[in-house]
Symmetry: C2
Subunit: 332 residues, 2 copies
Amino acid sequence: MKVSIKDIAKRAEVSPSTVSRALKNHPRISAAMCDRIQTLAHEMGYVPSEAARLLVGQQTPTIGVAIPDFSDPFYMNMLMGIEEVAIAHQHELFVGSFNQDLHRQRKLFDAFDQKRLAGVVVAGSLVDAAYLSRAQANAPAVLVNHYDYPHAVAVDQKRGISKAVNHLVSLGHQRIAYVSLGTTTDSDSLRYAGYLDALETANLPTHSDWVIAGDGGLQGGLAAADKLLQATAVPTAVVCYNDRTAIGVINGLHQHGYAVPTDFSVIGFDDLEIAGYFLPSLTTLRQPHIHLGRQAAEKLFALMHGATVQAELLEPELIRRNSTGPVRATMD
Amino acid sequence: MKVSIKDIAKRAEVSPSTVSRALKNHPRISAAMCDRIQTLAHEMGYVPSEAARLLVGQQTPTIGVAIPDFSDPFYMNMLMGIEEVAIAHQHELFVGSFNQDLHRQRKLFDAFDQKRLAGVVVAGSLVDAAYLSRAQANAPAVLVNHYDYPHAVAVDQKRGISKAVNHLVSLGHQRIAYVSLGTTTDSDSLRYAGYLDALETANLPTHSDWVIAGDGGLQGGLAAADKLLQATAVPTAVVCYNDRTAIGVINGLHQHGYAVPTDFSVIGFDDLEIAGYFLPSLTTLRQPHIHLGRQAAEKLFALMHGATVQAELLEPELIRRNSTGPVRATMD
DNA sequence: AATAATTGCGCAAACGTTTGCACAATTATA
DNA sequence: TATAATTGTGCAAACGTTTGCGCAATTATT
């Protein structure tokens, strides 16, 4: 069995309270005693029980993070940002994914709750906010890229996609498609709204063949390319829900013998690291992933310390690379 | 404050023990009582305290996972495999990264220990196994892609790289370079050994200019391409520590006006999802990521249930795609 | 109708830690 | 030299659960 403070107390012939205090250099314990206890504790391989500490009213030095999916690099980058500031605050991360499944998400929130975590950050726009605020009634929470919550940090996704469309318009494109996330979430709705808005502002036509459901991943992008090429009027440019979708689309077009940006312009969203290394490199909207994570974590710690924070909306930046270019003369 | 079992007991005018039992449908509690307590508990928003449970000798339904880095998709895929079986066993994941820093890793192991986790899986070849086994004396641990440990699941990395070299040899390549991880870990040593072995078996020359330090990521691959092109005798093929490095290399070569596989053959390791979607698609050695994670987790749960397990060595499979081809006629 | 088994519930201890309070011994102040 | 302040340590309660044991009331067995 694990060695406890009592075991040390017995060996040292002092009371448990003295041991407890000596271990944390309590001012009322003599330096000699502190030394003696600490080396003894180390010898005996003592490891404090976080559970016992938690029970007497302390906080777990742990914050929970809920992400939709381990396979999306965007969230991983965000995680790195969160982890960075968590470590700076001497906290650990408890990470769980819920795979766009609200049931799983609730389970996760329950786990957070049972563990009495110090705080929680939830990523993604699919979140059962009601459940969250009920469960985490006394642990603060910060949401990333979700809007219906008091504490959030998000990028302006609608504006981002509008920028993408405007960029394509400025290159002369008139038939512009959108490949969506495929599941109905705020993120997708907002981006789609940005697409429609910009099109309307530019007085450009929409077409039901031009909005295709992807799946947020490479496979979905690939499949979307097939459908795009079967449209009654084939578009010349496509803006994608995210970079991974864009890469899938480019690959799909390539399989049909088309080149980007010669034959089609394709634009992504996220600016994943791979976006700069893909061939062609991806024009995209940069989400400041790591910054987003850092901001969320900073806000969370502020909340945990009783401060009040306000939501923050960041503007994504258009990164021009080689997947977009002027519209080709004509399409037969 | 959080509502406790005692609060429920008071409201229901029964003893805490009855509440505790009623909540888990103890056979000696009447069905009526169970119902009454359970609905009451739900109304009052009761959430059991894991800490208290842990204290009375139960296990945390949580396993710890230590990974080198959130930015490497390989580990993320592995995580998904682990998570899959963890959920099946009603356990949650506590994930931490240590960024190839042994000090951070120890901190992480300490955290695992303080939380009295049920078990631990550690990914990557850089692990302080001594520290781990001391700390986790009574919690079982499984290692992924590490060899000096009783319980491990790994792919044969040396054999994998040898396969890569053999493939290139069969295509007629004679000057074959290796881009390493850059930091000295078992994984890198093994892959490098596989490279040397295969070269020797094939009676091919080595050259100090042909082994270049990368960083395991895209940036390192890009930089490596520059150095490769400056070699006294420029190689015709390059085998890379992993897929991300390979993508970086291809991109670097591209920036210098060279095409793959026309001018150079490049081969990766991992078979990340992106490997099939990159242009050109990557020839690589498949590590069965998800399977690896699943296996590790299965072994861990077996250990937790007192079974004995043995280490497992999987053979990576060569996936031929479009980043390798026959050696070009001549290099000027 | 007496005994045995079963059913339903409460008591109290235990898990490992922290912390307010008390108390003795030492040292500083008047 | 008496009193006050300081220093070093121990007692015991508390945190929220679980669980072995005991006991009464009910039901089943002869």
